[in-house]
């Protein structure tokens, strides 16, 4: 009885959400086909990327279990991997994640000031998300853009040669896109 109640209290949507569309399932098949027969576990990293992009920008345990079932591996094999690689988020993140590089070469070109400026402007520290759920600030290690420092990753792309003005423009751009989508 108690158990039943509990199950009902979980919104049905959450389970529905963790399911790839036909289109995405075809993508998964295509990825799996890159590797030899029986080595479908090799598809784990690319499939986790797809899952994270599809299911809200992070990997919940439901998502990870779902990926395990798709690839016919144990859930623990997915958890092990998801916790190892820094690009997988294991907690919800903001709609826009500012991943600012803080390693030596970027430090030499003033990334500390940029990080501080974002902190002030958005009122969040590294690792935090704004109350409206729009922005997360993350400090990350070298992203291979050292010659174009300071820089950050935003979604699939890099934003380079950052200045305070550019940061303002990026924030405005994100707010605008978010407003248009609502």
């Amino acid at each position: 009885m108690h158990k039943l109640l509990n199950e009902q209290s979980i919104p049905a949507r959450e389970y529905d959400m963790v399911k790839f569309s036909e289109n995405d399932l075809a993508k998964v098949q295509e990825i799996v086909a890159h590797y030899p027969d029986g080595k479908q576990k090799s598809a784990l990293l690319p499939v986790l990327h797809l899952a994270q992009d599809t299911f809200g920008g992070w990997l919940s345990s439901e998502t990870m279990d779902y990926v395990a079932s798709l690839l016919q591996i144990e859930p623990i094999e997915v958890y092990e991997v998801a916790t190892f690689y820094s690009m997988y988020h294991l907690k919800p993140v903001g709609k826009y994640v500012f991943e600012v590089c803080q390693t030596g070469p970027c430090m030499l070109r003033g990334c500390d000031d940029i990080i501080q400026y974002i902190t002030q402007t958005l009122g969040i520290r590294a690792g935090e998300t704004t109350a409206d759920g729009l922005f997360t600030l993350k400090t990350v290690e070298c992203l291979g853009a050292c010659g174009y420092a300071p820089m950050m990753q935003l979604g699939k792309y890099y934003r380079e040669h950052l200045t305070k003005e550019k940061v303002d423009a990026i924030i405005a751009e994100c707010r605008k896109t978010a407003a248009e989508q609502n």
Binding site: E141, G144, Y148, Q153
Partner: protein, 452 residues
């Protein structure tokens, strides 16, 4: 102008696509190799070229290829290492972004030489848009008969797949990369067995850097002997250098390895001198893992000879007074930079990236980060400097993979050459918070030009 074998066409309109690339003479090496040469003959040419691995270790590529095991009935694989995560290094990205077909061309010829019918490009996960560029190029090459079955009627079949990593420097180490390609955590394997015997899915595997594999194209086009005439000594061919830090023109440069370090830094063709009219303090010439050198030892060796941008000259003097070519990530520090802080950010990087399998690396990187933070923030003690030295010494050589050494060397070199700056942080913590130590005596022994 220096000689360009790789980047010459980088800015030709439309070169990212098959049509323009082919029109500019692309894929000639595939025609030559598949129609006129045996796989063994290609390995021979690469041996003759003297090409050294461009990923960091500088191991002769032809020799590595000749080690691959060929057991009956077991597929072999070529894997291209595009993980590029060594701080200061961004050359592979440039090559793939602007000349994706050059990499594919090199991969096809190399796959033929090694007998790989399924070749993988393991690219760092953050280079997401470059993975798309490569996938587009692969589709174009396939549509034009350069990939797939029976390429150019030669009977050779080959597919190339892009595999994105997910944020882990350690996956650049070849056995960790292989684990990651298998869908596991990037924990390096104990060697032997070497990948050439048992690599991905226990099959014979060769892992080479992006630039190494792209260099196979000019080698096949011009012949190994001609290629070997470019450069000097065991530094043959051209090298991509990604230059960053406090210089006027950060970017990726293709150099002929006969130019001096001084010319590379001050010439307008390359770095264009130190930014903001400042003076050169120090430089990490080959990616964050290699020893940092003060200006005087960078421009001239301890013997007082001019230092050149090649493997032998950069390592002249060993770790006592030299450094390494490494991955070609050239990081320049001006007179206002703090060595302790720079070393701290690198120590933090290695702590973050240690896979945690070996205790000297896992614990040691954590300790080094903590102590450097203390020193940088005015809470250090005189004994901390010796403690740091001691920790780095205990990591080096005591771990499964070279990340441990890579974490130890920058700390060792910083103390070796800049000990007085560390001591100043301990003695004058308040002062150290307010200002930087400056050039001190590092630039004294020789004349260091002021940018202009």
């Amino acid at each position: 102008m220096g000689m360009k074998l790789l980047l010459e066409k980088a800015h030709v309109e439309g070169i990212r696509h098959f049509e323009a690339y082919r029109r500019e003479g692309g894929y000639r090496s595939v025609e030559k190799a598949l129609k006129e040469m045996s796989p063994e003959a290609i390995v021979e040419e690469v041996k003759k070229s003297g090409l050294r691995g461009r990923g960091g270790a500088g191991f002769p590529a032809g020799m590595k290829w000749s080690f691959i095991a060929k057991p009956e009935g077991v597929p072999r694989h070529l894997v291209c290492n595009a993980d590029e995560s060594e701080p200061g290094t961004f050359k592979d990205r440039y090559l793939m972004e602007f000349l994706p077909h050059l990499l594919l061309e090199g991969l096809i010829v190399s796959s033929y030489a090694l007998g790989s019918h399924a070749t993988y490009i393991y690219i760092r996960g953050e280079y997401a848009w470059i993975a798309t560029i490569l996938e587009t190029a692969i589709a174009e090459a396939k549509a034009n008969g350069m990939l797939g079955n029976n390429i150019l009627g030669s009977g050779f079949d080959c597919e190339i797949y892009v595999h994105r990593g997910a944020g882990a420097y350690i996956c650049g180490e070849e056995t960790a990369l292989i684990e990651s390609l298998e869908g596991k955590r990037g924990n390096p394997r104990i060697k032997p067995p070497f990948p050439a015997i048992q690599g991905v899915w226990m099959r014979p595997t060769v892992v080479n850097n992006v630039e190494t594999l792209a260099a196979v194209v000019p080698i096949i086009n011009m012949g190994g002997e001609e290629y070997a005439k470019i450069g000097v000594g065991k530094s043959t061919g051209t090298k991509l250098i990604s230059a960053c830090g406090n210089i006027n023109k950060p970017g990726v440069y293709e150099i002929d390895m006969t130019i001096s370090v001084e010319e590379f830094i001050y010439s307008d063709e390359y770095c264009g001198g130190i930014a903001n009219g400042k003076r050169l303090k120090a430089c990490i010439p080959g990616g964050s893992s290699v020893p940092i050198l003060p200006a005087n030892l960078l421009l001239k060796t301890a013997k007082g000879e001019t230092r050149f941008m090649n493997y032998e000259s950069l390592s002249d003097g060993g770790f006592a007074s030299g450094s390494m070519m490494g991955s070609g990530g050239f990081i320049v520090l001006d007179e206002d930079q703090c060595i302790v802080k720079n070393t701290y950010t690198l120590a933090r990087f290695y702590r973050h990236e240690s896979c945690g399998q070996c205790s000297p690396c896992r614990e040691g990187t954590g300790w080094m980060e903590k102590i450097l933070w203390r020193l940088e923030n005015g809470e250090g003690k005189e004994t901390d400097i010796d403690l740091l030295w001691d920790i780095q010494r205990r990591i080096e050589g005591n771990t499964i993979c070279p990340l441990g050494d890579a974490a130890a060397w920058p700390v060792a070199a910083a103390i070796r050459h800049f000990r007085d700056e560390f001591e100043w942080h301990v003695r004058e913590p308040q002062e150290a918070k307010r200002r930087n130590y400056g050039l001190a005596h590092y630039a004294d022994p020789i004349h260091v030009p002021v940018a202009g």
